[in-house]
Every structure is written in C-alpha cells, then in structure tokens.
C-alpha cells in the first residue's frame, strides 16, 4: 500500500469551525471548534452523551450541522454528503459495527474500494479484460490490507459469525482499503479485553505511522488514549472543555473535574 500523497505533518488537515448541532431543540454540539493537524492521532474523549459520535457523523456527512463549517484540505463545507466525504478521502468505522454481515471478510474489505472501481457493470458481467485486470488489482489491495491487519485466516468466513474483536478489525480494514486521508474511528476498542485492546491500538498507531493516515478516534479508556494519541480534545455536554497534548489534558482542572476524576 502506498502512503497518501502529501502527508506533511503539522499543517492542518481538518478545521472544525463553530459547529452546532441539535436534535429537536436539544443541543448535542454547541459552537465547537478545533483543528486536526495532518498526520496526527487525535482522541476525542468525554462522558457518554457529550456529542462525540454526533461530531463524527457531522464530519462525514451523516448529520447536517445547524451552523458552522468544516474545512477539509482547504475546502469549506457547510454540509457534506456521505458519498462526497468518502470521495474526498474521509473513511470511518462505527461504534456498533456496521459491517455487511452476510458477506465474507474479503468481500467486506473489497466493498471499501467501490469508489476506486472504474469498469462498468457490463464490463464486469462480461468479464472483459479491463474489468478482470481491475478486479485483480482491487483484490491485491484488499489482500494487502488483510495481511496488514492479520486477517488472512478469516478471509473467506462470513463476517456475521466472527468474534466481536475480529469484526472491529474487519471494519477498520474496510475503511483503510480506500487509502483514506482521514480515518474516523468511533470507539475502536470498545468491548475488547486488554490483549485485544493492545493489539488494536498497535494497528491504529501502525496505520498512522506507516501510511501517514490522520486519525480521529473516540475512546473511553484514558490510559490508552494518553499513550496512543498526540492530541486530545475533551467534550462535555457538546462543548469543548479541553484541547491539547495528552500531558496538558492530564493537568487540566476542568477536564479532571468533568471526566478524569480526582483519582487517576
């Protein structure tokens, strides 16, 4: 797999600018602003209902914000369609896996390449040489992701029957195969035991390090957040109450009061 182009660290990839979102009058996110530097791992933390998942849904177009804008790679978006977000290189995983349950692991990963497929359905159905070459190319890409995430033993198994931790990894693979610029991970470690968590955070930091992919993730395990990420944004009731390096967050009084607790 190739690293995405122009992965210069430091320069902002994404700016979240005064985003507000409400559901039937209930504010989920208010006037939220922060920026994501290219090449970093940013962790969103905060209590349940703080608006973390809603924010990811705004970032890839599942929700339309009431106000504010997103600036992604220098382009301003008041709202963005999910398809458009995918086309621009924003990929994501969901809190409760959103895999295609009746399909195999390999096929799930291959669906992530839909927007990289150029041959027409007619060429595919008639097995024209161009379509066959493209299919072979897509399969090679999917295989390399399976290898990277150590999913090869599960390649031909139906996803719905796999263990939860493996499913999480398959979903990561499906997002990763399109070689996104920005990877949004909604609780990638949820429901895992300590060993699975360690493996998964190793994969996430590997993706970031080797492929240069910028990662925004939501996680509750503060211990892992502090070692995995290099930028932490803390939300509470839809507001930002902390923004900085893990060390800064650890010593932030507001954050300690709202979230981390006194004993840590």
């Amino acid at each position: 797999m190739n690293a995405p182009p122009s992965s210069k660290p430091g320069e902002p990839l994404l700016d979240v600018n005064a985003i507000s979102l409400s559901f039937k009058g209930v504010k989920a996110i208010s006037e939220l602003s922060f920026s994501v530097a290219r090449g970093e791992i940013l962790a969103l933390i905060g209590p349940n209902g703080a608006g973390k998942s809603s924010l990811l849904n705004v970032l890839n177009g599942v929700y339309v914000p009431d106000s504010g804008e997103i600036i992604f790679e220098g382009e301003h978006f008041r709202e963005i369609e999910p398809l458009e977000a995918a086309r621009r290189g924003i990929a994501r995983t969901f809190q409760n896996n959103a895999l295609f349950k009746k399909m195999t692991v390999l096929d799930n990963v291959l669906t992530g390449l839909a927007r990289h497929t150029n041959s027409s359905f007619l060429a595919q159905a008639l097995r024209l040489p161009g379509a066959r070459r493209e299919e072979a190319r897509l399969r090679a890409r999917a295989e390399s992701v399976l290898e990277f995430l150590e999913l090869q033993p599960y390649r031909d198994l139906t996803v719905g029957n796999l263990a939860y931790g493996i499913q999480k990894r398959v979903e990561l693979g499906r997002a990763l195969v399109s070689e996104p610029t920005l990877l949004l991970l909604d609780e990638p470690l949820a429901g895992m035991n300590a060993q699975e968590k360690a493996e998964m955070s190793e994969f996430v930091s590997g993706i970031n390090r080797h492929l240069g992919t910028t990662v925004v993730l939501i996680e509750h395990d503060v211990g892992i957040v502090m070692t995995l990420s290099n930028h932490v944004v803390v939300l509470d009731y839809g507001r930002k109450i902390g923004d900085g390096t893990p060390a800064e967050i650890r010593s932030n009084a507001d954050v300690i009061a709202a979230y981390l607790g006194t004993v840590h």
Binding site: A98, F100, K102, T111
Partner: protein
Amino acid sequence: MSQSLSSPLLVLPDNNFRLFTPAILLIGFIVVPVTGSDYWLGAILVPFLILSLAGLGLNLLTGYAGQTSLGSGGFMSVGAFATFGLVVHGGVPLPVALLLSGLITAGAGLLFGLPSDRIKGFYLMVSSLAAQFFFEWLFQKFPWFYNYDSSGTIELPRLSVFGLDVSSPVGRYLTTLVIVVALTWFAANLVRSQTGRSWMAIRDMDTAAAVIGIPVYRTKVLAFAVSSFYLGVAGALWAFIYLGSASVQSFGIARSFQVLFIIIIGGVGSISGNFIGAAFISLLPLAIDHVAQHLFAGHVDAGLLQNIQKAIFGLLIILFLVREPDGLARLFKSFGERLTNWPLRF
C-alpha cells in the same frame, strides 16, 4: 483458498464442484436433447428453465440488492408484449427482439425502481404491486399492444432464430437453454464483481454502504434495471417459446408469487437456488400427481385428490424451509460438503 479469477462459475463456488458446471452443460446440451421425449422437453424442461431465469431476475433484485418486489409478473408481461410489438409491428428478427425487449423492460424496471430512494422494505413491496397492476391494466386497455386481436392474446407467426425454425420441442428447448445459460453466466459474474458486492452491501446495511463510498441510489436503480431485463426476457420466452400464445392473464399476480416462491424455496441470494427452486415448484407437483394417481386413482374423488395434492405441496415447502431457512441451495451445498468428506465424517 479463494476462487481463482480465471475460472468462470455457473453454479457453486466450491472447488469440489469444479467439474459440476461442465457436467451439467454436457447433460443439458447433448444428453437431454438426444434422450428426452417431446413431452419432457416442451412441457417440463422449457418452463423449468424459463422459471429459473425469472427467479434469477428477482433474486438479483431481492436476494442480492435487498429490494423486495411483487411485480415480477408485470415485468414479464412487458417483455412478452414488447417482443410481440417488435416482431409484429416492427418486423424485428426474434433474437434481436428478445434483446430489445429485455432492454425495454429494464427501462420500465428502472422507472419503477426510482421510488426506492425513499420507500423501503415492506412498503417497497406494496409499491411494486402498483407496477404489477399497472401493466395488467395497460396491456388490456390498449388493443394496439395485442394487435387488435379479438381474444386479447399475442402469438408470433413463426419461431425462427437466424433463419432456423425452432418451433420443434428440441428447438424450443435448445433456444431456451442457450439464453438461460448465457444469462446465468452473466449474473454469476455480476454478483461476484464490485457491482454485486455493492448490491449486497446495500442489502446488508445501506447507511454504511453510503459512508464507505457506494453510490447507493444509483446502485439500487441498476439492480431494478438488470433484474427487469431478466424478467422481460423470461416473460417473452414464457409467452412464445413455452405457451405459444399468451395474454395478460399469463402474467398475473399469481406469476409474481410463483417467482417469489422459487427464490424463497431455492435460496435468496443464490444463483443455483433459482434452478433448484424452479425445479421444486415445477417438478414436485408432477411427482405428487404421479404418486397420487398411482395410489388413489379410482378410490378418491378427482377434485378432492387435486386439493390434497396442493396441501401436500404446501406442507413439503414448509418442511423444507423449517429444515433449512436459507433455502434448498444451502441444504444441497451442506449435503454435498458432507458427501465429499464422507469417509471421515458424515
């Protein structure tokens, strides 16, 4: 191991069955036409193949793309009446007319697939009923469609393919077989391609499909069009190759249900399941009839016997589905797997 890319697959994707497809083709193209009686070819195998094709069409839409439909009969009628119109009004040769009718039906299916953006699941099924009843009305209301025939039936003057007369049972069987094999190959390739994977992704979870970059609406509408192409061709074959003469009544709501039962019994989301389902639905009543006649003829009232046969047929469907809710294709497959491992464990 994953299936190698170069081997075309017709029936089952397992390596164990690699010889299965050539064997079936050999039997279908050589053994059956040589040994089959006219009755078997014309009255059993031709309708079986056409119903399999119709099942395949619906299965692409429902089993793969996850869009429900009760309009199969209606789309079959579009294919039949379009072929009739092209041949009778336009003088188009039959093979070309079949292809064009498929495309016309695809257009009709695309049109009725447009609401699928907003309507889902059960409600979409109800809206597909609208297609069914619309076409029944259309082809009855305007005599132009059946060339002002006094009984409202359509019939082709003669059945010829590239100058060859195919009206004999063997001719009709081989014509049907060539078309069904070609379209099955096409469908099997399609469901294993990126298009097929996008269909299945939408079937399993459409929100996630959009998020990972699948153009959901366009892909759904494509499924409606391709599915309708198959149903259109199947409808034309049903009218002219099997029945000989047909009317709107040949494509009523009962036909839609029949096609739906074929895919439910055979296996939703399976290619071989359509053939198994169609065989089940067209052969089992014959088998029951045969057994019943043998055992009870003369002892039981003929009308009562008819009803008992239908009840047994229904009961068998329920039994099979309880045994294997994923359809007979799955049942056959796991049986085949056990058979290949036989000396080790059965």
